[in-house]
């Protein structure tokens, strides 16, 4: 059982390491921030339930305070337009924010 535990811990740390490695921007990845008319925690949950499973989505941060959804996606698998439609499909309006270079940091701000 100790082996199981060791394996579990190793895999956990390995996964953490891999995830950090993935944090480096890749060539075929792009980022986009949408202004979304979310208004409650439930809306946030709805978007967090749907968007991660859209084709090509690599990472996502949702900020209710800023009403923003930041997405990192594979450019060879999806487009900003397709992602916008995916958000709209959950029942909200989405428009790309292009003028806010701090969008990601705001969205990732810890509560």
């Amino acid at each position: 059982m100790k082996k199981t535990l060791t394996c579990l811990l190793c895999s956990l740390l390995l996964t953490a390491g891999l995830a950090d490695a993935q944090a480096q921007p890749k060539k075929n990845e792009a980022e986009v921030t949408f202004a979304v008319n979310m208004h409650c925690d439930h809306c946030k949950k709805k978007i967090e339930n749907a968007l991660p499973h859209e084709k090509g989505v690599v990472d996502m941060k949702v900020s209710l305070e800023k009403k923003e959804v930041w997405l990192k996606f594979r450019t060879d698998k999806t487009t900003k337009e397709a992602l916008q439609k995916a958000i709209e499909k959950t029942g909200y309006t989405a428009s790309e924010k292009t003028d806010d270079p701090t969008a990601k940091s705001a969205a990732t701000k810890k509560p």
Partner: protein, 768 residues
């Protein structure tokens, strides 16, 4: 302690014509600072005809309300889970932004991220651990008794090795001294106490708050060591279907269904259902007894909320439960007559609870006294005059046999409470109220035992019927100086039909020295009426005579303590936290269940001498890399009681320490979540009769838990393992070979009874 801050956000442009309506938006601000528009909040003009002008906010939190007949006018907004408030609006105001703050009250909705499974709340008046929905999902958490594995504050054990009854310990004392609350109403009292921890499925809950130390006088005199408040799934969250299915290697199968749906802008409801079976008989340690009883439970609840246009809130609900447990020897045959040839246990619980709560906003706060206008106005717009009426009724029926011993009881409890809340001025709030409670207990113990000297069995019947009527008045004053300093002082006086007057003073202080350092202190008194058998259900699972030696008095204890929480930057985490706390409970009277005085009897008597418990705890948490959280906590307890003829001794079977390390890592977007928990459970003093080979203490033992969760659209799948290293207490039943002899004792439990538990489950959520 909910507060509302109203901010005038816009002004009418001089270039535009006066609008017909005043428009605005209502936001809710969570304790974490998230500002979100609130739909279905009620907004109206305050005054004689104000209620008729009420409008509700739309799905974006916006409202548009016709201008009042006269200026200046006061606009009022309210929403469930947030307190209401008012603001003067001038005739040139076109747009009003209202911020409804979720405050520090236990009854608030906790909105937290997926990662925060357990955290120490920053805004609460008492040191409070919050186990969030995420925390409830990171382990099997079938019911609340299984929700505290990540907490060092609470130790969870078994009352005995046959009934499967879980019991908690907070501040080193039995869970009976901790008040269980269901959305701030006292719950699981009296006969529901021994099995109550299994009566609320974890999947029904949104969060659990564990507050240490004495709390408000508002909820009664019964809390000594702390309060555990259960927050249910909210009727206001539109999730028409939530489904949870769970299965483990012992055959436990559980289904939970929840449905929350607004029926209109004013009426909301939640339907909760639970069914579970635990059919498999297992005997891992080969003592001939089942490790846990076979169980089945059905549990239903329906909760309603109605929000009227004038801000009046009406909540009501009904809950019903039936649970059956069959344990004892593996080959026990319930169809055969019960005699000394076999030993079995049968426990049936039936529980019904109905409640109604009405909250009435009556008016705005008293004007600030002259000279206080420039005081730090944190409380601006915070407190309004409110009135609340709460009524509830509980029926509980417990039928049980442990071998030839039988305990049957029926309880009817009715509660009525009226509260009035207002303020003398900014920063000076008060609450006064009155309460009435009726408890009717019809209970009897049929005791059967074999005397040490004799061969035959002896029988005695003890009538434990009791009727209680308690009427009380209470008041609480809150002084706040900004967010920095909050002092709450409360006093209640109750007249008890059996024990006469009880005076309960309590005070709490919270001082935020700086943004990164908060100090808390609390102290006060708590009482409770003992229920001899249900408070110590484990004594039923012994071969001894149960002897109540003298009339038992009220239990009476003082608890005081303090804590410090420090937030700091560590690695890339700007919100790492370190907390320390100390609490002491000192009993003036306690009911002692003494098994060491006389080896043939369990003696119940009033404390004669000292009884105290000191606990020291340190908590640490950090997120060193994104989505990876480390939480570590350590608690040390020193609990001693004066026993008859032997003086002050360490309380038996009380763990001296508990250490917990929890690691959680989630991949991006929480697609995969890995949870790992390690516990070190400290030694406990073994009762004298259980000392073997000179070992006076149980061993220190570790326990490990792991779970992996995979998220799909609308669906979470999880697999996990409890007790990874398969550690169990050897021979938890003393004298298992002769269950009708005085030496038979299954109440000496200090460790796990169940072997490694592998489990898997799914959670399906349908969003609207």
């Amino acid at each position: 302690m909910k507060k509302i801050v109203l901010i005038l956000a816009g002004s009418l442009s001089l270039c535009t014509l006066p609008a017909q309506n005043v428009r605005g938006v209502v936001y809710g601000v969570s304790p974490t600072g998230d500002k979100t528009p609130l739909s279905y909040a009620s907004v109206h003009w305050h005054g004689e005809h104000g209620a008729h002008s009420a409008v509700a906010t739309d799905e974006h939190g916006r409202f548009s309300i016709p201008r009042p007949a006269a200026w200046p006018a006061t606009l009022m907004a309210s929403f469930v889970g947030y307190s209401s408030d008012m603001r003067s609006v001038a005739d040139d105001t076109a747009f009003v932004e209202l911020l409804l703050h979720e405050g520090a009250a236990l009854d608030e909705v906790q909105v937290t991220g997926r990662q925060a499974a357990l955290y120490n709340a920053r805004l609460t008046q008492l040191k409070t651990e919050v186990i969030t929905a995420a925390g409830l999902q990171k382990m099997a958490c079938c019911n609340i008794g299984e929700s505290f594995e990540n907490s060092a504050s609470i130790s969870v054990g078994y009352s005995d090795a046959v009934s499967g009854a879980r019991q908690i310990r907070l501040l080193g004392l039995s869970g009976v001294y901790t008040q269980m609350l269901e959305e701030n109403r006292a719950d699981m009292r009296g006969l529901a106490t021994p099995f109550g921890l299994s009566f609320t499925p974890g999947a029904w809950l949104e969060s659990i708050q564990v507050a240490k130390g004495v709390g408000s006088v508002l909820q009664g005199y019964e809390n000594s060591t702390g309060q555990i408040n259960l927050e249910y799934r909210k009727p206001t969250t539109p999730e028409p279907l939530f489904l949870n299915l769970y299965l483990d290697r012992f055959g436990r199968t559980e289904l939970n269904v929840a449905s929350s749906q607004p029926l209109s802008g004013k009426l909301f409801t939640t339907l909760l259902a639970h069914g579970s079976v635990d059919p498999m008989k297992t005997d891992g340690n080969g003592d001939g007894f089942m490790d846990e009883p076979a169980k089945k439970q059905i549990n239903l609840a329906n909760r309603w909320l109605y929000v009227a246009d004038n801000g009046t809130m009406l909540r009501f609900g009904l809950k019903g439960l039936y649970e059956k447990r069959d344990g004892g020897q593996m080959d026990f045959d319930a169809s055969r007559p019960r005699d000394t040839s076999q030993y079995g246990t049968g426990i049936e619980n039936t529980h019904i609870n109905a409640y109604i709560k009405i909250g009435l906003p009556l008016g705005r706060r008293a004007p600030a006294p002259a000279g206080r206008d420039n005081a730090p106005d944190v409380a601006a717009g915070e407190a309004v005059t409110n009135m609340a009426l709460i009524a509830d009724y509980t029926f509980h029926d417990l039928r049980s046999f442990f071998g030839l011993k039988t305990f049957d009881g029926t309880e009817h409890t009715a509660n009525l409470n009226a509260l009035f809340q207002s303020a003398f001025g900014p920063g000076h709030d008060y609450m006064i109220g009155a309460g009435l409670r009726w408890d009717v207990y019809r209970q009897g113990l049929q005791d059967v035992w074999r005397p040490v000297s004799g061969r035959g069995l002896q029988t005695a019947y003890t009538n434990l019927d009791r009727d209680e009527t308690v009427g009380g008045l209470f008041g609480e004053y809150t002084f706040s100086y900004g967010d920095q300093l909050v002092l709450v002082a409360g006093l209640r006086a109750d007249y008890h039909s059996l024990f006469q007057w009880m005076i309960t003073p309590r005070a709490t202080l919270k001082y935020a020295v700086a943004d990164h350092l908060t100090l808390r202190a609390s102290g006060g008194r708590g009482f409770r009426t003992p229920n001899v058998i249900t408070d110590h259900i484990g004594v039923m699972a012994t071969g001894r005579q149960i002897a109540i030696d003298e009339p038992l008095d009220l239990e009476d204890a003082w608890t005081y303590g303090g804590s410090a929480a420090w937030y700091f930057s560590l690695w890339q985490d700007d919100r790492a936290s370190l907390g320390v706390d100390f609490f002491r409970t000192q009993f003036t009277n306690q009911i002692i269940a003494d098994q060491e005085n006389d080896l043939a009897r369990v003696l119940f008597y009033n404390l004669d001498g000292q009884s105290f418990s000191n606990t020291y705890q340190i908590d640490f948490s950090t997120t060193p890399v994104e989505r990876f959280t480390i939480m570590a906590t350590f608690r040390y307890t020193d609990a001693q009681t004066a026993y008859r003829a032997r003086g002050l001794r360490e309380r038996p079977l009380n763990d001296r320490f508990k250490a917990v390390v929890n690691l959680q890592y989630a991949t991006r977007m929480n697609i995969w979540t890995f949870d790992f928990t390690a516990q070190w459970n400290g030694q406990t003093r073994l009762p004298d009769f259980a000392v073997a080979d000179g070992r006076r203490y149980s061993p220190v033992y570790p326990l490990f838990f792991a779970q992996i969760t995979r998220k799909f659209r609308n669906l979470d799948l999880y697999v996990g393992c409890e007790n990874l290293f398969n550690y169990t207490q050897p021979d938890p039943i003393l004298g298992a070979a002769a269950p009708y002899d005085a030496g038979f004792n299954s109440s000496v439990v200090w460790g796990p009874l169940m072997e490694r538990r592998l489990y898997a489950g799914l959670r399906f959520t349908l969003f609207t």
